[in-house]
Symmetry: C2
């Protein structure tokens, strides 16, 4: 009943909205309409205020509008609270409903309760928002929602969402989060840097203890990304193995190839962010719009190498197995480097034995930040 | 005045004596003649005895015979002691002389003093012997001599030397040392397994602390081997950097290419064992004949890979620098492996931070021994 949006509508600015296409459950036509309605609702708010203008629409699972709201200005209910109140006063249940909001629901309990908590308490099952909350005090709502098992996706019509809050940001000098989301690049290789033998065999390079450790680390990030190559070849689920973990990091697939809707990635029914681009900067931007603070790049070599080459790999998590293959698939591929002085340099921060394998953690020596304002400066170097 | 022997004489058995050619100071014609004379002297000893028959000739630096001796049987002076006594009673100084012996001088103080110590005390500068002492109690003389700064080379006319002691060994059931010399393969690479960038730059992959550590380890082995490729490209001295170290491990060059006599390897004047073969088994055999217990294979990739591929790398010492190159010269090359199950497997035994680098030590999981008797079974699989 939810027709997936295969082709996301192009915004007027022409910026690469394809990075924000979600599938297969995707963003439905009803949800896109609801977001546009939310932008219109937001316009009801005061032009000059300490708070940004925000609109919210609550949809039934079938797409029917259940309630709507907007923010009237500092000291009044947030848009989400207004919409929840409208539903409540009309006696309408919002359990399992979808909240569509122009701004990431706040995580801040101030003059009003935190919207993220209100949505969780009301039984909302899914939240779509346009742009992340750029303030340090109120951001973190997406993480709160995901931690509570609410399917949460950001970046829906993000250009319009950014434009909506731009006057407020300019007026109040609210910049974006200082940093883009932190990228952790992980691989497991033989001692001579191979992730598969010549014939493609790769199970298992590392032992049980190292693999278990890697799964534990998965539960600590906000998003896990693989390339379409890995998604097609390994058909992974990208869940943390620990069944007790309630958190489900946002699952991200990167690349231009299409995945079958029968892929195990989609098996749990939760959303998958498919970034249809080979450019790691597009991935970072899509993840910023989804309020990810830490993203795990979980291979394979193509994606891993693209992030390293782009200077976006802030941290390396490397499992080394005491095996030698000589030939095979290298973990790290061409980085465009010809001489030693150009090598990507890291600092060793942790070294630990996991069974018969070694786990090494490295930080990039001179972190290159993304443009300081990933939302407004969308014409960054691609 | 010492004409180097460029072409070692082929023994009757036709076994690969080229592996025992020494250069550039080499084994001189005078020394080869002295060794043949020592075999004849040995024949003076008793056929049936608890001890093997041994002969010894002492040469002046110019090649003149100063003294000679042989072993008359258990309880009498060893051949070296007999020769030293002859020189002493004739009032002839053997300081800076060369002792040429059919068997590795013993390290065992029993009924007679240890011959290695006697030679050291007499001021002998150079010792050539044919085959290592195969008994656990008496072996170790070559190491004692080298530790005292005496230039010591084994394997001279080793087939004849082995034949000389064969009847005694058969009679007394003395087998060789149980194991061949232990091979430690060392390399320093980037995290992605490269030892040089595309343009050949490789100084320095690792930092000062790791390089210092590697030099300390050099002082603990009996022999250090490099390929002719490394010898030609890096022109190394292969000495332990620590000037206080009195030990000078035997320096070994492996490969068919000729080195210039001006190579830094030869600068100290000490002998260099040039094993003219690409087969690691020949190297192991030449080192066994030189009584090496532990040999360090100090790169480059060709030699390192040959030892791994041959299953002769008992231990790996790997320095990993937190750098990524993507492309470049891999530390480990083709091992003839096509599938993961064929990977060479090791066990991690040590993991240590050295500055910004990691030092990892591995042992081979299932050590493959060389033939149990490397002296007598010279027709081993090549």
């Amino acid at each position: 009943m939810f027709a997936p949006v295969r082709e996301a509508p192009l915004p007027a600015s022409g910026s690469p909205h394809d990075v924000c296409e979600f599938q297969p459950r995707g963003v439905t036509h009803a949800e896109l309409s609801a977001m546009r309605a939310a932008f219109e609702l937001a316009e009801n708010g005061p032009v000059q205020d300490a708070n940004p203008r925000v609109g919210c629409v609550i949809l039934a699972p079938g797409g029917t509008v259940l309630a709507q709201g907007w923010h009237e200005g500092a000291g009044t209910a947030h848009a989400e609270a207004a919409a929840l109140a409208q539903a409540h006063s009309a006696g309408i249940s919002v359990v399992d409903a979808t909240a569509v909001v122009t701004l990431e629901p706040c995580a801040h309990t101030g003059r009003t309760p935190s919207c993220a908590q209100s949505l969780i308490d009301a039984g909302i099952a899914r939240v779509l928002y346009s742009v992340p909350d750029p303030t340090p005090t109120a951001s973190g709502g997406a993480r709160m929602l995901r931690d509570s098992g609410v399917e949460t996706l950001g970046g829906v019509l993000s250009d319009a969402g950014a434009a909506l809050i731009a006057p407020w940001r300019a007026r109040t000098h609210v910049s974006s989060q200082a940093r883009r989301n932190r990228i952790v690049v992980k691989w497991a290789s033989t001692l001579d840097g191979k992730v598969a033998a010549q014939d493609g065999t790769s199970q298992w390079i590392t032992g049980e203890s190292a693999r278990q450790h890697a799964h534990e680390l998965r539960a600590q990030v906000d998003a896990i990304a693989v390339g379409t190559g890995t998604a097609l070849a390994d058909n992974p689920q990208l869940t943390a193995r620990d069944e007790l973990a309630t958190r489900t990091p946002l699952r991200v697939v990167v690349g231009r190839r299409q995945l079958a809707t029968t892929a195990r990635l989609y098996a749990s029914g939760a959303s998958v962010l498919h970034v249809r681009s080979d450019d790691p900067h597009d991935v970072v931007r899509a993840l910023d719009l989804n309020s990810a603070q830490t993203t795990l790049i979980d291979g394979g070599p193509t994606l891993v190498s693209a992030f390293i080459r782009a200077g976006l790999a802030d941290e390396l998590h490397v499992y080394l197995a005491p095996k030698l293959l000589g030939t095979g698939l290298p973990a790290v591929q061409d980085l465009g480097i010809t001489t030693l002085a150009q090598a990507h340099e890291y600092s060793l921060v942790h070294c630990e034995r996991r069974g018969n394998d070694v786990f090494l953690r490295f930080m990039r020596d001179e972190p290159q930040d993304a443009p300081s304002d990933p939302i407004l400066n969308q014409n960054h170097n691609r």
